[in-house]
Amino acid sequence: MVTSQNESTWGSCRVISPNLQQAYSSLADDFKFESFTLVQKPFVNNIPGSKDEFRELADTIMASSPDYLCFPEHLPVPSSILKKLKMFMNAKDIPPVIIHIYGDFTYFSHEWTLLNENMMDHPIKFIAASESQQRLINFFLNKENGQDYVEKYLFPVNEKEYFFDPQERRLMREELDISDNEKIILYAGRISLQKNVDVLIKEFRQIVNASKLPVRLWIAGGFDDIGASFMGIKHHEGFMFNKIQKLVDSFPEDVRNKIHFWGQLTKQKLRKVKAASDMFMSFSLYHDEDYGMSPAEALATGLPTLLTDWGGYSSFTSPAWNCSLVPVEITSFGHKLHTSVIEDFYNSVCNMNLTDQEREKQAKEFIKEFSIKGSSHKLKSILNSEMRPFKGFNWGLNHLSRIYWSPGNGKEINKDLNPSDDNFYFHVYQNYISQKRKQEKV
C-alpha cells in the first residue's frame, strides 16, 4: 500500500482514504499488508548517501517482493509515482498494480496519460467508486478483445461515525422546537456552483406553497467559490454566498424564515442534524462526482434521499432503502433536470411517515452494504479477480488532457468542455448519466 505523508486538500478525500485503508485492514486474515509512506525529500539527491522517496520505494519493493502494489489515495497521482519508480527498477520487477480511481481522474488527465508511456501491458487493476465512474474510465481505455476491465468498489462509510440514533433526533427536535408533523429537508455538503443548491432552494419554495405540512429547509456546509474553472467559469471569493443570499432575500418572509444555513459542522453535530431531518436532497452536477460521501452518510442515518442521476449518485439506489433519482439530460441548452419528481418524492416521504424503527432498519440495510466491514467481502473478491494487462488509454484521454490543460483554458468559456449534446463534453459526461436514460436518449 503506497500512501502519502501529505493530507489531501479535499475534505471528502480526507474521509475516503482512511476508510478505504481500514477496509483493506479488515482483510488481514486473507492478505498481508505492508505500507510505504511517501515522504517528500526535496534536494535529497544532492546529499551524498541519501535516497529520495521513490528510490526508497523501489528498494522496499525489491526487498519484500509483494504480490500487488496498491494505491488507495488520489494524490500523488499513481501514474506519476509509477513513472518515477521506473527510474529505479525494471517494469518486470514491479508487481501487478491496483489503483483506486477518484473523481479527479479527468482533472489530472495529463498525468494519467503517463501510464501509456510507462506501464503498457503491465497488469493493472483499476477500481472505480461507482458505475458511472466505471463507465467513464472504460470510455478512455483501450479494450482487449472488446472487454471492459474496470472494477467497481464503492467507498465505504464509517459506521461508527454515521448511524441513526432516535434519541438524538428527539433531543434535537425538542431543542429547536420542531413539531412532530413538521418535515425537514436537508442538504449537506459544500455550497458550490456545481452543487446547484440554488435549484434546491427554488424547488423548496414550491414545496412550501404546495405542502399541507409545515416544512423547513436546512443547509449544512460552507460556501466555496471553486466555480467550474475547467469550463472557464471562475468566481471571486464571496460570489456564491451573494448569489444564494440574493435568491433567499427575493422570497417572501414566511418562506425565507424556513430556510436555515448551519455553516460548517463537526461530524457529531452533522450526525445529529441528519437524525433530526426527514429527508435529504442534493441536485449536484459536480464534475467530477465519482461517488458522493455526503449522500452516503445521509443514507447511513436512514434518511430518505433524492439525488440527481449523475455520477456516483446513481449507484445509491436500492430497493432495500429509500433513494430516488432526479433524471438528468445533457442538452444543447445545458443540463436539464426533470424536477417533477421532487414534489412527488417529498409527498411520498410525507405519506410514508417513517417510524424510528423503520428508519433504523433502512440505515442498517445501507450500512450492511456500505460500511467498512460490510463491504470488505466485495473488496476481497475484487482483489482475487483476474488481473489484465493494461492496453493503454485511448485518444480520448489525450484529447481531454490537451483541452483541459491548454494555456488558455479556465480564462474563458471552453466550447469543448461546456455542457452540450454536440461536443466532446457530451462524449465524456454522458457516462455520468445512468445507463437506462442513455439508452432512452439513443
Binding site: T9, R190, L193, G222, F223, E237, G238, Q264
Partner: protein
C-alpha cells in the same frame, strides 16, 4: 400538482454577474507589479459594494454608474486617488475604510461613507480561540519592523501572553522583496522573525499557501493580519478566513469611534459583514492636506515637471508614496485625535 417540470442549469450566466470585477487586459507594468506584489492580500473578492483596489489597474471609466465603489487600498493609494480624481466624476458613493477617514479631502466628504469589517466571532483574553492564524509580509511593505513589533504585541496583549501556550499558532508570511516604491526601511528578515518568536512563541506552524487556501474550516480561529495599512487595508485573506468561520481580535475602542454611526449592514458570508458608517465631521478638525505640509514645497517643481515627462512621473510617484507614508506616520497622533 404540475407535472413534467424541467429546470435548465446554465452556469455560464454566472460569469456575467461576476464580470464587473474583471480587470482590463492592458494593465500597465506598474499596475501588474503592484497587484502581484501584494498577492495574496490583493486577490479580488466579490461584494455588492464593488470592492476593488483602485491602484491595481481597474479602469475608473468602467464604473461611473455603479452605486458604490469600495476602495480596498491603504493610506497611500487612497490618498493618491483623492489627489487625482475629482468628486464630480462619481455618481454614486465611495466607501473608504473607517481607519482611513483622515485621507478624505473636504470636497469628497459628501460622497464618502466608511466601512468596517465585522466578524461574528471576536476574541480576547476572556474568549480564547482554539487557533491563531497570523498573516502578513516580512518586510516594510505591509509593516516595517517597528510597526510589526507593536502589532504583534497588540495581539499578544489582546489574547494574554499566559494563554498563548493553550493555542495553536500558525503563520503565513510570504517573502517579498522590497523593490516597490523605493526602500522605505532596511530589510531585516531576522528582526521580523525575532519579533514573531519573542512576542508569541517558538512553536509556530508555517503551512504552505496551497493548504491555507484549500482549507474550508477556520472555525474557532482568530485571524490576525500584520498590516500597517500603508498599501492595502481590506485584504483578501481577511475575507477568505472570516467567510470560513474565523474571528477577529476584539477591537480596542478609539476616540474617533464615537463619531461614526452604522447606517447599514451588508452580509458577505455566514460569519462576517460589512458595516457601512457615516462620520459626523462637526467635531473633527479640518482635512490635513499632505500637499500643504512645509516639507512638500521643495518638490512642487517636480510635480510640474512630472506632468510633461513620463519617466520623471514614475520617479515622482515613488517619491510621493514615500513622502505620504512618512507624512501620515509623523502626523499619526494629530490625525487620530
Amino acid at each position: 400538482m404540475k407535472k413534467n417540470k424541467e429546470e435548465y442549469v446554465q452556469w455560464s450566466y454566472d460569469i456575467i454577474q461576476n464580470a464587473y470585477l474583471n480587470k482590463p487586459e492592458d494593465l500597465t507594468p506598474q499596475d501588474n507589479t503592484y497587484m502581484n506584489y501584494l498577492i495574496p492580500f490583493s486577490y479580488d473578492y466579490f461584494g455588492p459594494t464593488n470592492p476593488m483596489l483602485v491602484f491595481g489597474g481597474h479602469s475608473l471609466n468602467d464604473i461611473p454608474n455603479q452605486k458604490f465603489l469600495t476602495i480596498r487600498d491603504g493610506i497611500i493609494p487612497t490618498s493618491i486617488f483623492f489627489r487625482d480624481i475629482s468628486p464630480s466624476s462619481f455618481k454614486g458613493e465611495v466607501l473608504v475604510h473607517k481607519d482611513l477617514w483622515y485621507t478624505v479631502p473636504d470636497a469628497w466628504r459628501e460622497k464618502v461613507k466608511y466601512f468596517n469589517i465585522v466578524s461574528k466571532y471576536q476574541y480576547d483574553s476572556t474568549h480564547l480561540p482554539r487557533k491563531i492564524f497570523i498573516a502578513g509580509a516580512l518586510n516594510s511593505i505591509l509593516a516595517d519592523p517597528d510597526e510589526l513589533d507593536s502589532m504583534i504585541k497588540e495581539l499578544r496583549d489582546g489574547i494574554g501572553k499566559e494563554n498563548l501556550h493553550k493555542i495553536e499558532v500558525f503563520a503565513y508570511f510570504p517573502s517579498k522583496r522590497n523593490d516597490l516604491w523605493g526602500n522605505w526601511e532596511e530589510e531585516n528578515i531576522l528582526r521580523f522573525s525575532a519579533s514573531l518568536f519573542k512576542n508569541l512563541k517558538l512553536e509556530l506552524k508555517v503551512p504552505e499557501w496551497k493548504l491555507i487556501h484549500s482549507e474550508n474550516d477556520y472555525s474557532d480561529t482568530l485571524y490576525y493580519e500584520v498590516n500597517s495599512g500603508a498599501l492595502i487595508k481590506d485584504s483578501y485573506l481577511t475575507h477568505f478566513t472570516l467567510a470560513r468561520g474565523a474571528g477577529l481580535l476584539k477591537p480596542k475602542r478609539k476616540k474617533i469611534d464615537r463619531f461614526f454611526s452604522v447606517k447599514s449592514q451588508i452580509r458577505l458570508s455566514l460569519y462576517h459583514q460589512l458595516d457601512i458608517l457615516e462620520l459626523d465631521y462637526t467635531h473633527l478638525g479640518p482635512y490635513l492636506d499632505p500637499k500643504n505640509d512645509k516639507h512638500f514645497n521643495y518638490f512642487r517643481k517636480m510635480i510640474e515637471a512630472s506632468t510633461k515627462n513620463k519617466k520623471i512621473n514614475f520617479k515622482w510617484e515613488k517619491w510621493y508614496a514615500t513622502y505620504l507614508k512618512r507624512f501620515y506616520r509623523d502626523n499619526k497622533s494629530r490625525l487620530m485625535e
